[in-house]
């Protein structure tokens, strides 16, 4: 220690730790915390004195390079560094990027340093389209965002409109929505397990996942008429009553999938290669996850018990019994385990919905919001007028603005809606969980190998339709 720093006793937080680590008989140890730099001696603090978030900003996991820089090898921008780093473009056509995601990886040998997800290849301007569509048409637009969980997209849109309208739904409509949401969560998670399995070279898992998802999609087709992009949940309720015998179909689905989850366990959870490739890979702690606005399985795998179904209940989630699954380490394996066990919890919820489905209307009987029953149109002039007015003029929503969020399979799916009193939204903004969760990718990839990058990316589960909207 030089004279400028006679003692480190006055600095809180350093002395104790240093004392604990002081090497016996090594009096010069304290010199190790000073480093010679160009600007003279600089004191080095302990790594623990920097918070994880400060470190994140300082390290800068994000490669700040224009998208086009590496496309043209002759460009000035592409000549980077005298060090042995290179830039590798992963995607947008790479099969492991789950769509059209492109990631620019800065590599040193086979180790990833910084990276930058490049998105927008699937941008279709849905927020702009929503401003031109009436509230009654809006669900057809938003359902196309996250094509693996269309029901949740429709739900958040419908909830935002209903919040602005100030209407309350009959219980059966709420419970039908909850049933469909949980079935959709199951199908989305098994689909994720399938693609994740394929990324980690388990083609059996890929076949299994698609097989299970198809059962759910077949039921959705029976209820809504379509396998994807259902337009089933609409402002004011749902589009149609559940078909006869739906209880048997749903029971068959959950019984089959529940037993097959055990197969997944056998196939992946206990498999040494899978564990080697996922355990300790891509670790993210809770502070960083919270600061990066991560939600859903990423946040829960980091050990934060945050599930909007439980913490800010919507629909009737406060009336059903289920557990919020959390991880401990926040690595790729935890994110896998969280999702797998969430399928089991969703099955629990679906069973309770089966038992307790209330009777009544599947939509509100407010002729300004939902169309009259088909039979009424034949016998009532008034019903015919209402039907005509609803589908030509739409719903008039009073002025105001609101933010509504639901827990989609990927995290917090939010909808910020501004109404100006007309029949279409003035502004509709969707907070896509995949879009925000992509920010977690550069810190997760930092220091990983390229092969791990595939596993990490898969565990983040981005759906590019929602990222780009």
């Amino acid at each position: 220690m030089s004279d400028e720093h006679p003692t480190d006793a006055g600095r809180p937080g350093t002395t104790d730790v240093l004392d604990g680590e002081r090497v016996p008989g090594h009096d010069d140890f304290e010199r190790l915390i000073e480093a010679e730099t160009e600007e003279g001696a600089q004191e080095l603090g302990l790594a623990s004195s920097t918070s994880a978030v400060e470190l994140l900003i300082e390290q800068g996991g994000v490669l700040r390079l224009p998208e086009s820089a590496v496309l043209d090898p002759g460009a000035e921008d592409a000549r980077f560094g005298e060090d042995d780093t290179m830039i590798l473009n992963l995607g947008p056509q790479h099969p492991s990027t789950h769509g059209v995601l492109r990631i620019m990886l800065e590599l040193e040998g086979e180790t990833v340093l910084r990276s930058k997800p490049v998105v927008g290849y699937l941008h279709t301007g849905m927020e702009k389209t929503a401003e031109d569509l009436m509230y009654v048409n809006g669900a057809t637009n938003v359902t196309r965002m996250d094509y693996l969980s269309p029901i949740h997209n429709e739900l958040v849109f419908a909830l935002a409109v209903e919040e602005l309208l100030g209407v309350e739904l009959p219980p059966r409509a709420t419970w039908i929505r909850m049933l469909m949401c949980e079935l959709n969560r199951i199908s989305s998670h098994v689909m994720w397990a399938a693609t994740n399995g394929m990324d980690l070279a388990s083609t059996t898992m890929m076949i299994f996942g698609f097989r299970e998802r198809d059962m759910v999609l077949t039921f959705f087709e029976k209820v809504t008429g379509l396998r994807m992009n259902h337009n089933y949940i609409r402002p004011g309720g749902v589009a149609a009553e559940l078909p006869d015998g739906w209880e048997d179909d749903v029971t068959a689905i959950v019984d089959t999938i529940e037993s097959r989850i055990d197969d997944y366990d056998e196939l992946l959870t206990g498999q040494p290669i899978f564990r080697e490739r996922t355990e300790g890979v891509g670790v993210m702690g809770p502070e960083v996850a919270l600061a990066l606005s991560a939600t859903g399985p990423i946040l829960r795998a980091a050990g934060v018990p945050w599930d909007l179904r439980r913490t800010m209940p919507y629909l009737a989630y406060d009336q059903v019994d289920f557990d919020v699954v959390v991880g401990t380490v926040g690595d790729t394996f935890d994110r896998y385990a969280v999702r797998l066990n969430e399928i089991r919890e969703s099955i629990r919820i679906v069973r309770q919905v089966l038992e307790r489905m209330p009777a009544g209307d599947y939509r509100i009987q407010d002729q300004k919001v939902t169309p009259p029953p088909r039979a009424r149109i034949d016998e009532s002039m008034e019903a015919l007028i209402h039907h005509f007015k609803l589908f030509t003029r739409g719903i008039e929503v009073p002025e105001g603005e609101t933010y509504v969020a639901v827990e989609s399979p990927r995290g917090e799916l939010g909808c910020y809606m501004v109404a100006d009193g007309s029949n279409h939204p003035y502004r509709m903004h969707i907070r896509g969980p995949s879009f925000v969760n992509l920010q977690s990718v550069p810190p997760l990839l930092r220091g990983a190998l390229v092969a791990d990058a595939i596993a990490i990316l898969s565990s983040v589960d981005p759906v590019l339709g929602e990222v780009d909207r």
Binding site: V62, E67, G166, Y426
Partner: protein
């Protein structure tokens, strides 16, 4: 049908003191209530300080950030003391411990569409600010990477602006040959 009459002055409901009033650093910021959600209206100068104060008070996550162009709806309801401007930056903050949300609406004038960045308070706002810049042209000062994110890098205009011509702009393709 609705709790609030259209265009009514948005004041917090009587007997319900806004919880943000007790947070140090948020004094004097106009507060309103929209559908039982608390909304703060800081000006551009106080925006970052208010956000930092809220973060220190437990709002550790920036759940959402977006811009709104109010060009065709300038007569929207705003509490007293808020200067009416064309653009708004809307930030939704989340407190996990108390299970609360709070929303910030910052007015941004059209002739100087610049807003300080939230990146150093909430690193998670990075992509959302890039999106707001890309689609609405609101520039976030101090942002480490203020580039387009959804539209191509060489795109002209900001599509979510209300005066952006829909259907009148020919589709832009990179390096496409011109019309023959």
């Amino acid at each position: 049908m609705s709790e609030q009459a259209p265009g009514a002055v948005v004041a917090p409901p009587a007997g319900h003191a806004p919880f943000t009033a007790s947070i140090p650093g948020c004094e004097g910021v106009p507060v309103s209530s929209s559908r039982a959600q608390e909304v703060l209206h800081p000006n551009r100068e106080r925006y970052i300080d208010v956000a930092a104060a809220l973060r220190d008070a437990g709002f550790v996550t920036c759940a959402d950030l977006c811009g709104v162009d109010y060009l065709r709806h300038m007569d929207r309801a705003l509490p007293e003391g808020v200067a009416r401007e064309r653009f708004e930056v809307v930030v939704s903050l989340l407190n996990h411990a108390d299970r609360k949300r709070v929303r910030l609406r910052v007015q941004v004038p059209a002739d100087d569409a610049v807003c300080p960045t939230l990146f150093y308070v909430y690193p998670g706002a990075e992509n959302m600010e890039r999106e707001a810049y890309d689609l609405l042209g609101i520039r976030f000062e101090g942002h480490p990477d203020m580039t387009r994110i959804l539209m191509p890098e060489d795109w002209e205009g900001h599509p979510l602006r209300k005066d952006y011509g829909v259907g009148r702009v020919p589709v832009q393709f990179k390096d496409a040959p011109g019309p023959r």
